[in-house]
Structures are given as structure tokens and as C-alpha cells.
């Protein structure tokens, strides 16, 4: 369990798993993480910071060799998860593949072009244009939930994450190590979305969001009842109800709740509900289509009618089309009332105490929505005037982020060895970290390592490369035994190892064994006898055969020498050993060709006879040990050698050595063996 800084055992570089947040490390916004393992690089999400503009809002992409990133996975369509995607796909060197779910992709396109339209910043600060978004669509591939995809040996698939339509959690598997990236998720089933699944496969590392830290959400039934009750109160006292929401995601959930509530309360039917967002209108067809990404309830409902075809809710194009003549319910964006329609409506309605405003989502510091929650007496309008705040203001969180209870349950089910916290403010994150560690304090069985890296600081995890290989084919014909020798080809493909016998190769892979034969022709004008003379000096292993009616010599049992008029052809099947033999034969042929020895005087093939060997042996022994130590006579083919009062007998015929002293015996054996090999022609090896 080596963590960063473990210097005792320098780990193999490729066994380290690096998780580097390039954004949303100890902050909320611009989610972007880089995963490095075994030379593969995967980027998770590519968002922008909603509070910043232009290049400042990008994640720290300059720290990455963008061209080396193999894969980019986008968890869902929120700006802080995909906002920088057109920039990344169109304006950088990125060459890898990019995946998101079907619904995410369909909404991504409209959401970003809306973002480009409303962001009122100078064109030079613009990260990308409408056309960049359109072009990026072609580069984005889609993935269905649970569908397994493999890219360069990285296997990944996704689970439903709740949160918003099409939100996904990615499980990534590289070389047997699994990392789960949750993106934003919610374990609470709501009107239209499923709760995030708990994967059945245990990941080794979980990268998890921590937006709500250690908070615990109100129960769904309670908050829905509170919400509908509030709306009912406001409209029945003759007031107008403003619900500022982000155009996509929670808005659809609220619309479903309101539509159902209106259906059940006929007395409210004269009171109109509007949603005032062209973006929401555009994306409604996406909601009407990707029913299969939603929960069981919706999928059953579609058998009757599409729940996203609302009966009591109409779309409001703009303020001009709005007849403000009586009680009404309006859902307007933006959700934090920074500007735009929700701000406009709020300013015109806040002075009447019958009216009400319900804040339904997460609010960032410094926005009007956050401000009015502190119940001030007055508010500042866009034009700088002061208005008294008389309408009621309520806060009901419909945010579909996980809370502490869900997070803790989720992690308990998964039992990952490492947890990396991202997407949360610094304080919330450290509180969550402390709480998680406390939870497993007394657990002797299982320890969880929690990390909360800052932006650009990598978490380094070491995974022991325990490699498993499968032995298949004829090699595995018998049950494995202790000390059984195994020898075959190890095939490594995308971190999978197989051991196969060469003959089985084509059965288990798309590769095949092949053979290369070589034929080399050399001009040779000398006689066969001469050639043979030289060859016998090279090898004792020469056979005469007839090949295609031509006299042929086989040398080393593998190289054929075909004798043709004026030339010889050397033919062999290539492999490193035979190549070497062939080279030797070539040298011999060239030597024979250049040898001017007349034909008549070709000496008979040199025979290595015993007497020659014995002569040489005696000579050598004399050189080694001096003439005194060597017995002068050879008796019964025996020579005795006396060195330092140790006596060894050498059989000159069989070249055996007998000696009481092991050291001497070894010395003699080696010497004699070398001598013999030097004199005698080469024999077929192996």
C-alpha cells in the first residue's frame, strides 16, 4: 500500500496510479481529473468554473500533454462538467476518443450554445463559438449504460448516477485495477430519475463528489409536500409564485411534481404554470425521448402517455408574452437570479406580500438568491434602485447531490481501498474526510484511505503488478503440477496474458506462425571435392542427398547446399541459429572459391583420429603442468597427472578424467573439453 513518498521500495513507474485533479480539487466547478496508469491517460470530465470567465474558467489543462490523453469521459451535461469540452476538442492537440451518454450528448449541444449566447463577454475572451460546438458533436461518441467499451486496453462502462438525465458514473478498468468516477450522483430516486446504482463489481479506487459534505437531506416526500404546500398557499392567497431554477435538470423534476399536483387538484386548474426558458423547451424533446434512461415509474407510465407531455404547464417565450393578470406559477432561469428573466420577475413581484419566491437549488455566495435567504428588508435592483422585500422567500433543496448518509452507504457497499474526494468546497471536503475516517476507525478488517487532493496535486497510488496469465491450448492439456516446466509464447494484449504453444498460436490469436526460406546463390567454379574438403573442416555433419536431381549436401541437418553448374545455391529455413550456420557455409564456399588449390591435389577429408588427439592432449597437459607432472608413458590409454601431490588419471581414448580432488578434476575436464572442441569439426548442436 505504497503512497506517494514511499521511497523505500522504488516502485516500477508504471505500477503507479496517478489521480490529478485539474479542477474541482477542493473547490466546486470545472471538474476535470487526469488518471494515469500503465502509460494510459484518461481524462474525466472537462468543465468550466461558472464563477470565472474566459481562460481563467478552464481547468489547468496546461499541465497535461493533451496529445497523450487516450480517452475523455464526460459524466453529465452540466457546465461544470462539460463546459470546456468544445475548447478541448477543437482548440487543443487532443487526439483520443471522447464518450458520453446519449442523453448527455443531445442536451450538451443545446446547453452550450445557450451558454455561448448568454455569456456576454468580449469575443476574444470566448473560449469557443457555436460552430466549434457543432464540430465537436462529430467527435463525441455515445455509450449506453452498462455497455462495455474498450479503447487501447482501457475497458470502461457506466452506471446510472441519478443527478440529472443521462448522468453517468464511469467504471474504468486498466490491467485489472478498477477506478470508479462518480461524477455528480444521487442515491435518492426521484420523480423521473433512478437512484445511482451501486456497482456489483468492487472498485479499487473511488473518485467521489463531496458537494454536500456531511449534510443530510430532508426526506423526499417531506420536501415535496412542503413544496407543493407552499405553492398552493401562495397561489390561493392570490399571489404569484416565482421559482428560479436552472433550465435543465431540477426544473424537469419540479415540472413533473407540479403537473401531477395540478392534475390532482382541479380547483387549481385556472391558475397557469409557465416555464420560461427556451433552452428547457428545446430540450424537452430529449426528455420525451430518452425514457429508457429514467426510472421504472416513468418507463411504465410511457405505456399510457408520455409524462413529459405536460397537461397544465405551458411555455413562456419571453416577458412580452406574459400577461401578468393574476395568480400564476413561473419557473424561470437562471437559478440564482443573477440576471435575466428570473431576476426581472423577482424585481416586479417582490414588493407584494401576497407573492412568494421558492429557491429550489444550490446557491453560490454573492448571488441574489443567496442574499434573499438572509431575509433582508431591501434588495438592490439591476438598475441600482432599492426595493423593499415583502414577498415570502423559502428554500427547499431539490439538489440531486449525494448527502453524507448516501455517500457513506455507497462507500460501505463498495469498500474501495482508496477514496478520492473531489467537487466540494475545502471545508466541506475536510469534514467529510474526517467523518469517513472516523467511521472506519475501529474497523480492523477494512481500512479506507481517504484523499482530498488540491488542484494539480496528484494522488499517487501504488498497485502491485500481480499478473495473471492463462495457459491455454496444448500446454494446458495436463493438470498443472508442482515443478512442471512450462515453456511457450507469452502473448500480451491489452494487459491480458496468455501462454500458448507456438502451434496453437493461430487458434487463440489472429496471429500466425510463418516460416521464411532463404536461397542464396554464390558463383562457384571449383570442384565438389574441394568444397567438401573445406566443409568437413567446418562440420562433421554432412550428408549427401539428391534434391530435385541435383547433387546436394546437407550441412548441420538444416542448410542445403545445392550444386549447380558454375554456382552453388544455399537454401535454409530462417531462424537465428540456421542463419549463423548458413553464414558459416557461405564463408566456406567463398574460401573454396578463392582457394587456388589445384584440382588434383585435394587432400582427403581431414579425419580427426585418436592419435592426433592424444598428441595434442599430451602437449597441452605438458604446457599446463610442466613435463615433470606428466607420466611419460601411456599405459592402457591412461596418463597420470600429478599436481601438488594430487594424482589424476586421464583416459586419452575416452577422454575421461579420474581424480580424488574435485578441483583438479574440474580443471582437467574443462581443458580437455575445450581442446577437443577446438580440434574436431563442429557437430550439430542441440
Amino acid at each position: 500500500m505504497a503512497k506517494s513518498g514511499d521511497t523505500v521500495v522504488p516502485a516500477d513507474e508504471s505500477d503507479n496510479l496517478l489521480i490529478r485533479p485539474l479542477g474541482s480539487g477542493q473547490e466546486v466547478g470545472r471538474s476535470c481529473h487526469l488518471l494515469e496508469f500503465k502509460g494510459k491517460k484518461i481524462m474525466l470530465d472537462c468543465g468550466i468554473h461558472p464563477g470565472l470567465n474566459g481562460f481563467a474558467s478552464l481547468p489547468f489543462l496546461d499541465l497535461v500533454e493533451v496529445a497523450e490523453v487516450d480517452l475523455l469521459l464526460i459524466s453529465h451535461f452540466h457546465l461544470d462538467h462539460c463546459g470546456a469540452l468544445p475548447y478541448f476538442l477543437e482548440k487543443t492537440q487532443f487526439k483520443g476518443r471522447c464518450f458520453m451518454t446519449h442523453a448527455s450528448k443531445a442536451i450538451y449541444r443545446w446547453l452550450l450554445s445557450d451558454y455561448v449566447k448568454v455569456s456576454n463577454i468580449a469575443t476574444e475572451d470566448m473560449l469557443y463559438t457555436e460552430s466549434d460546438i457543432e464540430n465537436s458533436m462529430d467527435k463525441i461518441e455515445t455509450i449506453n449504460f452498462h455497455q462495455e467499451v474498450e479503447v487501447n486496453g482501457i475497458k470502461f462502462w457506466c452506471y446510472t448516477a441519478g443527478h440529472v438525465l443521462g448522468a453517468a458514473m464511469f467504471m474504468i478498468e486498466i490491467a485489472g485495477v478498477r477506478v470508479l468516477y462518480t461524477g455528480d450522483f444521487s442515491r435518492q430516486e426521484d420523480r423521473h430519475l433512478m437512484a445511482a446504482e451501486i456497482p456489483r463489481i468492487h472498485p479499487d479506487v473511488v473518485i467521489i463528489e463531496s458537494t454536500y459534505g456531511t449534510h443530510i437531506h430532508e426526506k423526499r416526500e417531506d420536501r415535496e409536500a412542503r413544496f407543493t404546500g407552499l405553492v398552493h398557499d401562495i397561489v390561493s392567497r392570490g399571489g404569484r409564485c416565482l421559482i428560479p431554477v436552472f433550465a435543465l435538470g431540477r426544473a424537469q423534476e419540479l415540472l413533473l411534481i407540479l403537473d401531477e399536483y395540478w392534475s390532482n387538484h382541479p380547483e387549481l386548474h385556472d391558475i397557469p404554470i409557465y416555464y420560461a426558458s427556451s433552452l428547457a423547451k428545446k430540450c424537452m424533446s430529449v426528455y420525451q425521448t430518452y425514457i429508457n434512461a429514467m426510472n421504472e415509474k416513468i418507463r411504465r407510465q410511457i405505456n399510457i402517455s408520455n409524462p413529459f407531455v405536460f397537461k397544465h404547464i405551458s411555455n413562456l417565450k419571453s416577458m412580452e408574452h406574459f400577461e401578468d393578470i393574476g395568480p400564476s406559477v413561473v419557473l424561470a432561469s437562471p437559478g440564482m437570479m443573477q440576471s435575466g428573466l428570473s431576476r426581472e420577475l423577482f424585481e416586479s413581484w417582490c414588493t407584494d406580500k401576497r407573492n412568494g419566491c421558492i429557491i429550489a437549488g444550490y446557491c453560490v455566495e454573492g448571488t441574489l438568491a443567496k442574499h434573499i435567504l438572509s431575509e433582508p428588508d431591501e434588495i438592490m435592483t439591476m438598475t441600482g434602485q432599492k426595493l423593499p422585500l415583502k414577498c415570502s422567500v423559502d428554500y427547499i433543496s431539490f439538489s440531486a447531490h449525494t448527502d453524507y448518509k448516501q455517500t457513506s452507504e455507497f462507500l460501505r457497499a463498495l469498500k474501495p481501498a482508496h477514496v478520492v474526494l473531489v467537487h466540494g468546497e475545502q471545508n466541506e471536503m475536510s469534514r467529510l474526510k474526517a467523518a469517513l475516517i472516523r467511521e472506519y476507525e475501529d474497523d480492523t478488517e477494512y481500512q479506507m484511505n481517504v484523499h482530498n487532493p488540491k488542484n494539480t496535486v496528484a494522488v499517487e497510488l501504488h498497485f502491485r503488478g500481480e499478473k495473471m496469465a492463462k495457459v491455454v491450448g496444448s500446454l494446458a492439456a495436463e493438470k498443472p503440477k508442482q515443478d512442471q516446466r512450462i515453456s511457450g509464447i507469452l502473448v500480451k494484449r491489452n494487459f491480458n496474458y496468455h501462454i500458448v504453444a507456438p502451434a496453437d498460436l493461430s487458434n487463440y490469436t489472429d496471429l500466425a506462425m510463418s516460416t521464411v526460406t532463404q536461397r542464396l546463390s554464390i558463383a562457384y567454379t571449383g570442384t565438389v571435392a574441394l568444397l567438401k574438403y573445406y566443409l568437413t573442416q567446418l562440420s562433421s555433419d554432412i550428408e549427401h542427398i539428391e534434391k530435385a536431381d541435383k547433387p546436394t549436401l546437407r550441412i548441420f541437418k538444416s542448410v542445403f547446399l545445392i550444386i549447380e553448374p558454375k554456382m552453388v545455391v544455399i537454401e535454409w529455413i530462417a531462424n537465428p541459429v540456421t542463419d549463423m550456420y548458413a553464414d558459416a557455409v557461405v564463408t566456406v564456399v567463398l574460401r573454396a572459391e578463392s582457394d587456388p588449390m589445384p584440382q588434383k591435389s585435394v587432400p582427403p577429408p581431414l579425419l580427426v583420429d585418436k592419435s592426433h588427439v592424444q598428441e595434442c592432449l599430451l602437449e597441452m597437459l605438458t604446457d599446463m603442468f610442466g613435463s615433470e607432472g606428466i607420466s611419460k608413458m601411456i599405459r592402457n590409454n591412461m596418463v597420470t597427472v600429478t599436481v601438488d601431490e594430487k594424482i589424476a588419471t586421464v583416459n586419452v581414448d575416452s577422454l575421461e578424467v579420474r581424480c580424488d580432488d574435485e578441483e583438479l578434476q574440474q580443471v582437467l575436464l574443462t581443458a580437455i573439453k575445450n581442446l577437443y572442441q577446438a580440434i574436431a569439426p563442429v557437430k550439430q548442436a542441440g
Binding site: H102, M137, M468, V472, P480
Partner: protein
């Protein structure tokens, strides 16, 4: 196999038995079911490929009657559309006869058992099937169509692919068979092996001109389609034609008629992610849903259809003309030469549609008309009584009449079937409970509002009129004769039934009559089956190169033709080709031995890997150490260790035949060989470079190379050729080039 009966095969992998598809023919013959029944108790899982009755028709019967009880795997569209198919089929049958092979409840029960999957979602089976993974892959043909990949122990790959379509269509992508390489066993059909398809454009044009001509002559066009499969492709095509202002079709009407058309279109709309890239892109970029029809009007019964002004094009189910609205319309329209009838699918032999395709010159057809009529018989009485009971409509059994057409002369077995049907009729088996049940079910799945117009009484009356009007121009005298028979049989039935009849319900009965009809209408067969044709099947097979092949579901000639092709072309199928007959058991057991070993880090890092394509290879020499299986597991895996080792151990057990398994969970570890034991091995050249590729490499290295009579001549003195055995031969005189080229050639191989 060896004929065109619906697919239904049993595959046994070790102890685990799959049922691949569960089809039933158009006539629901019990013969077919018997065979399945015998094996039913052994089946552990069912894999479905397409939503039509050919591929899952027997499911409601088998599951609903409790014969089978096991998980069923299918993709989401197959689940949804399959349900639609079965509802529609039931409804079509029920409209004309007493159909009690299965009920709508059976359909629901059966489909509740389906495990819904996405493409490429891998399922690891548990229990008996441990170690087996199943994965559905896109197959084209119909929405959600599936090729099943069954993998055992991560090594043995079995592919079940029938009726796939490799071509892109309007609403579907082609199949992904290209990505499957060298499966151990492939099960595929030879249905189209000898079939030649005209080009898609030609077929589209043929359809357009037929429609246009008929329309201009003031005639109607009947297009016989299925419920929710190929229909989508045709509906989309026609809708596009209508949208095209130049086509000149806009003044005419276009209607889709089946019992579940509204739901089918709704479901199709919500399954964009299963359709072609083009559709997906257009939806993502412009929010265009292709099944948001502008011109296709959805009808659920003949009355609704009657309101649509003529001339009209009607897409009606079912494709085989054996029952359903298409049969009604055929009967009504075939008499007039103005009308056209377009068949889109070669259905099973013995069906009316198939007979029409096979005998295009035949101008008269004798068939059996079946319909459901009120027992009161006399039209007027009926009418009055219905008036009275109008407020009790929801209790009333629908009263649609249908005619069943049978060709008696062409097929012996059909006459048999007919008599069967007639005996059923005269027995008057009226299970009223079942019927009212059927009714309430219908209400449920149709969802009140939309389906309601299906049954109101006043429209039924309209239908009566419709029927009368249409029948008159035809052979009236002939139809008159059986009419009397009908009446008498009606009386019989009435007597039998009256005892058990609830007064509030209007009893109905089914009558059958044999009629000879002249076919004056223009009948055309235009192929919109969406299957790969023979040529492509062969091409695909030679790409996939399965190690063993099983051919099913085709006529003997077609099967033989394909098998012949595979045998002739070396390398297409390495192993055996099986052509099983029905009921025949094929043994394709391969000696597959697998065990798993743990590789020590130092062993692997000492290896030198050579690259070939995407793989890296190295020669490994090692020795197995069984003793340290469990000791040396990484701390990282602590949490899951128990589970993991168990899995591995099991794999060993599966792989080794008859091996006595060590109770200890041991994974052998490969340790390096001690040095003195090291023995050399023969070098192995891996890869099969192509000469043309090699030429490019040579040119890059600055060596001139060109092909002369199939031999690559390099620098005019070295020749590289491939001899008959596939060996590469390098030949030349001794010179520098020879060794240089040899070096380059070696670099094309992975040498270990």
C-alpha cells in the same frame, strides 16, 4: 434446420443449457412445441434475438403455461416490441377465431421474466453457468436485434447470429459482425445463402412507382408488414416519401393499421439511442425524431381506417396474411385490378403471403374465411340489440369479423389445419371468462383513451357495411352457399353455449367459410426483410473465420450451398461445418484446456517483448510453483481476495477435464527456471506480412521494389516470393542487398 421453420435451438455449454430463440410458426402447431417440452426442464436460460413471433412466438405459451421457468435475456427494444408483437398477434387471431393457445396474461407473465440488457452489456452468469458470460451485440434487421456472444472462461467464444443485416438502413445500423474475430463456434442461418437481393435504391424505387401508379389510378395499396420490426423501416421510408414534395404523393393518404400502432410508434420514439448513427445525430443536433410522423396516420381498426379518404396506402400487420388486418384488407381489395398489394417479407412456407410470392401467375385463390359474428345471426336483430346495450359497451365483447383465407389446393397440411379449425369452431369452445379477460387486458395495455375507439359499437356497424359493400363485387354466389352452413353451425353453437352465457354479454362465435377469390389486384413482392443476402453472408463468414460452424434454418439447398462455399474456400472455416437436422444433436465439444497462472513480476520484467499488430509477444520459460498460490497476494486485493481465488479455482476445475480438483484454492505461480536447466527453443516467426505491404516498407528504406509475375523484385537482384504453402521465400545472389533486405524482412516479424 434444413427447412425454414422458426429458430429454436438448444446450446449446452458445460452443464448450462441455453435456449437460443423461442420461435413459433404462424399457425402455432403443437408439433413444434412438443420437442421443446421434452427438454424444457433442462433449460437454464433463454436468449432472444428479435421481437417477432418467428423468434419469440412460443414464449408466452411456454412460460404462461408453466412449461418453462428460467431467466430470459433480451435487449430493451426486443422486450418492448416483442410485447407489441405478441399483443398484436393475439388480437389479430382473437378477432377472427377462438384463440386460446395463450392469453394476454401469458404474454405479460412471459415478458416479466425478461432481463433487459443494453448492447455490449456483459452478463456473468451465476450458479451452474459460473464462468460463462453473455453479451448482446447489434445485429441490424430489427430494432434491438441481437447477435449473442457467449464466452466461457474468457476464452471459448460462441457466436449466435441469425437473420442479421450488415447494411445500414434508414433506422438501423448494420450488425457488428466485423468486430468478431475467430470465434470457436458460430451458429448462423443460411436462409439467404442462395438469395440475391436487388439494390436498396432499386427496391425503394419499385415501391414508389407501384404506389404512385396505383394512387393515380385511384386504387388502394396494401403493404403487408409486421407489427413493430420491419414496419418501422417501411413507415419511415414512406413518411419520407410523402414529405418529399416532388414525389407527388401528398394528396393521397398513408395509414398504419395494427392493433397496437400508437404504442409501437411511441416506443419507437423513445428508442432513438438504439437506432442508426444518422438518426441519432439528427436527433442530437436538430431534435428531429424520425418517428414523429407527419403523414402516417395511426389506426387501430378498420373503422378508423375507413375514415381516411381514399385512395390510401395502408401498412397493415401481419406480413403473412394469415390473420389480422392485412388479411381483411387483402380479401377486400384483391378483387379490384386498381388496387395493389405489396408483400415485404418471405414468410414461412404454407402461409398465404408466401404462396402469393411463389405463385405469382396464379389468379384465383380458394380460401377459408373465418370471422367472429354475433350469435343472433340476423343482422337487424343484432343491430337493435346493440343499440339497447350501448351503455354496457365496456362489457361487450368486440364483434369484428374476419375472414381467414386458406389455400386448400396447394398444400395438404393446410387442409388438415383447416379441418382442425373447423372442428374447433363447431364445437363452439367459448371460454367467456377468457374473453372478458382479454378485453380488460386490452384496455390496460392500450391505455384507455387511445384504444377506446377500437370497440365502440357504432363503428362496428360501419364495418359491417364495409364488409357488405366489398364482398358484393366478388364471388357472391359462392360465398352464399357456405353462408347457409354457417347459419346452421351458428345455431348449434348457440344452443350449446346458451347455458353458460352471462346475459349481459353478447355471445359470439366463429364461423369459417371457404371461398374462391379472383385476384385481380396487382401483387408485388418487394424485399424489405432487412437481411444480408447470400453474397454478403459469404463475405462476412470469410472475414470472421469461425473455427467451427453450425448452419441452421434454411432449405437444404441453401444450407448445402453455403457449406459448400465454406469448404471450398480454405481458411473460412478451420474446423468442421455442421448441418444439423431438426432434433439432431451436434457435438462441438472442443478439448479446451485452460488453467491460470500467476506471473511473478521479475519473470515478466526479464522478458523481451516483440510487437506484432496490437499484441506483444515473448517466449516464456518457467516452472510452476503450486505451493504459494495464496500466500503471495497483493495487499490491494485483500477485500476481494476470497472471491477472486475461488473464481480462479473454479476456472481450473472447468478447464481440466476429469481432473481431480485439489480442495486447496491454489493458483500456480510461474517462477523463473534456474539457469542450469535452461534449454533453448526454436525461434518462432510470428505474423503474416503481406508482400504488398513489404514493398512499401522497402520503398521507404530506399530500395526499389516491384512486382514481376507475383514476385517482388528488389534492386533487381533479390526476389521475395510467397510459395504455395504460404511461406515467404527470399532469394538472391550474395550481395549486400540480400542481407539488408533480409534485415528488413525480419523486422516485419515478431521473432521469439
Amino acid at each position: 434446420a434444413h427447412n425454414e421453420s422458426p429458430p429454436c435451438y438448444m446450446l449446452q455449454v458445460d452443464e448450462f443449457r441455453f435456449l437460443l430463440d423461442c420461435g413459433w410458426d404462424e399457425d402455432f402447431s403443437m408439433e413444434f412445441i412438443k420437442e421443446i417440452k421434452r427438454h424444457a426442464h433442462q433449460i437454464d436460460a433463454i436468449l432472444l434475438t428479435y421481437p417477432d413471433h418467428i423468434h419469440l412466438g412460443a414464449l408466452p405459451y411456454l412460460i404462461g403455461k408453466g412449461i418453462l421457468n428460467c431467466p430470459i435475456y433480451a435487449t430493451i427494444p426486443v422486450y418492448k416490441m416483442g410485447q407489441m408483437f405478441m399483443y398484436d398477434l393475439y388480437q389479430s387471431r382473437h378477432n377472427t377465431e377462438d384463440f386460446n393457445v395463450f392469453t394476454l396474461d401469458d404474454v405479460d407473465v412471459a415478458f416479466d421474466k425478461i432481463v433487459q440488457l443494453k448492447y455490449s452489456q456483459t452478463v456473468h452468469l451465476k450458479g451452474k453457468g459460473h464462468g460463462i458470460q453473455i453479451t448482446p451485440l447489434p445485429a441490424g434487421h430489427m430494432l434491438g436485434g441481437t447477435i449473442w456472444k457467449i464466452i466461457k472462461d474468457g476464452e471459448e467464444e460462441i457466436v449466435y447470429a441469425v437473420d442479421y443485416n450488415h447494411k445500414k438502413e434508414r433506422h438501423l445500423n448494420g450488425c457488428v459482425l466485423e468486430n468478431i474475430s475467430r470465434p470457436s463456434l458460430m451458429i448462423t442461418d443460411a436462409f439467404n445463402a442462395t438469395y440475391v437481393q436487388s439494390r436498396r435504391r432499386a427496391r425503394d424505387e419499385q415501391l414508389l412507382t407501384t404506389i404512385l401508379q396505383t394512387m393515380r389510378n385511384d386504387g388502394n395499396v396494401l403493404v403487408a408488414v409486421d407489427t413493430a420490426g420491419r414496419m418501422l423501416e417501411l413507415a419511415q421510408l414512406l413518411d419520407q416519401m410523402w414529405r418529399n414534395a416532388e414525389s407527388g404523393l401528398s394528396p393521397y393518404s398513408l395509414a398504419l393499421l395494427n392493433n397496437v400502432s400508437f404504442n409501437v410508434v411511441e416506443f419507437a420514439k423513445s428508442q432513438v439511442e438504439w437506432m442508426s448513427d444518422k438518426i441519432m445525430r439528427s436527433f442530437e443536433e436538430a431534435r428531429n425524431n424520425p418517428f414523429h410522423f407527419k403523414h402516417v396516420k395511426l389506426c387501430h381498426n378498420l373503422a378508423e381506417l375507413a375514415r381516411i379518404p381514399e385512395p390510401k396506402v395502408v401498412l397493415a400487420s401481419v406480413p403473412d396474411l394469415q390473420c389480422g388486418f392485412s388479411r381483411d384488407l387483402f380479401l377486400a381489395w384483391c378483387g379490384s385490378p386498381k388496387n395493389s398489394i405489396i408483400l415485404t417479407n418471405r414468410t414461412s412456407p404454407g402461409t398465404l403471403a408466401r404462396w402469393l410470392i411463389d405463385n405469382p401467375e396464379n389468379k384465383t385463390v380458394t380460401m377459408d374465411i373465418r370471422r367472429r359474428v354475433k350469435l343472433e345471426g340476423a343482422e337487424l336483430d343484432d343491430y337493435l340489440r346493440k343499440r339497447k346495450n350501448k351503455e354496457q359497451e365496456e362489457l361487450r365483447i368486440k364483434n369484428e369479423q374476419k375472414r381467414e383465407l386458406e389455400d386448400e389446393s396447394s398444400d395438404e397440411s393446410e387442409t388438415e389445419m383447416d379441418t382442425d379449425a373447423q372442428t374447433v369452431t363447431s364445437k363452439g369452445k367459448h371460454d367467456l371468462m377468457m374473453k372478458s379477460e382479454g378485453k380488460s387486458r386490452t384496455g390496460f395495455f392500450k391505455q384507455a383513451k387511445k384504444s377506446y375507439p377500437m370497440f365502440p359499437f357504432s363503428e362496428e356497424k360501419l364495418k359491417w357495411d364495409d364488409y357488405g359493400e366489398i364482398i358484393r363485387p366478388e364471388d357472391y354466389t359462392i360465398i352464399d352457399v357456405p353462408q347457409t352452413d354457417e347459419d346452421s353451425s351458428a345455431e348449434n353453437v348457440k344452443k350449446q353455449d346458451s347455458a353458460i352465457q352471462d346475459l349481459s354479454e353478447v355471445p359470439t362465435k366463429c364461423v369459417a367459410a371457404t371461398v374462391t377469390l379472383d385476384i385481380n389486384a396487382n401483387i408485388q413482392y418487394i424485399d424489405f426483410e432487412g437481411r444480408s443476402d447470400g453474397e454478403s453472408i459469404k463475405k462476412i463468414l470469410s472475414q470472421i473465420k469461425p473455427r467451427q460452424l453450425i448452419l441452421v434454418r434454411a432449405t437444404t439447398e441453401a444450407t448445402e450451398a453455403l457449406a459448400e462455399y465454406c469448404r471450398k474456400n480454405e481458411g473460412v472455416v478451420q474446423g468442421k461445418i455442421f448441418l444439423p437436422h431438426i432434433g439432431e444433436v451436434v457435438d462441438v465439444t472442443r478439448e479446451s484446456h485452460i488453467f491460470q497462472v500467476r506471473l511473478r513480476d521479475y519473470v515478466v520484467s526479464a522478458l523481451e517483448f516483440a510487437k506484432a499488430k496490437e499484441t506483444e509477444l515473448a517466449w516464456i520459460d518457467g516452472i510452476l510453483d503450486m505451493s504459494r498460490g495464496k500466500v503471495d497476494t497483493g495487499a490491494m486485493y485483500d477485500a476481494e481476495e476470497g472471491e477472486l481465488t475461488e473464481e480462479k479455482a473454479r476456472k481450473i476445475q472447468d478447464g481440466v477435464l476429469n481432473g481431480e480438483e485439489d480442495p486447496m484454492e491454489v493458483v500456480p505461480t510461474v517462477e523463473a527456471l534456474p539457469h542450469n536447466q535452461f534449454v533453448g527453443h526454436k525461434a518462432v516467426f510470428i505474423n503474416e506480412p503481406k508482400l504488398s505491404d513489404f514493398k512499401l516498407v522497402l520503398l521507404q528504406e530506399g530500395i526499389s521494389a516491384e512486382f514481376i509475375a507475383g514476385v517482388l523484385i528488389c534492386n533487381n537482384n533479390v526476389a521475395v516470393r510467397r510459395n504455395e504453402a504460404g511461406r515467404i521465400q527470399l532469394e538472391g545472389t550474395i550481395c549486400e542487398d540480400f542481407f539488408k533486405i533480409r534485415q528488413i524482412l525480419y523486422s516485419q516479424y515478431a521473432i521469439v
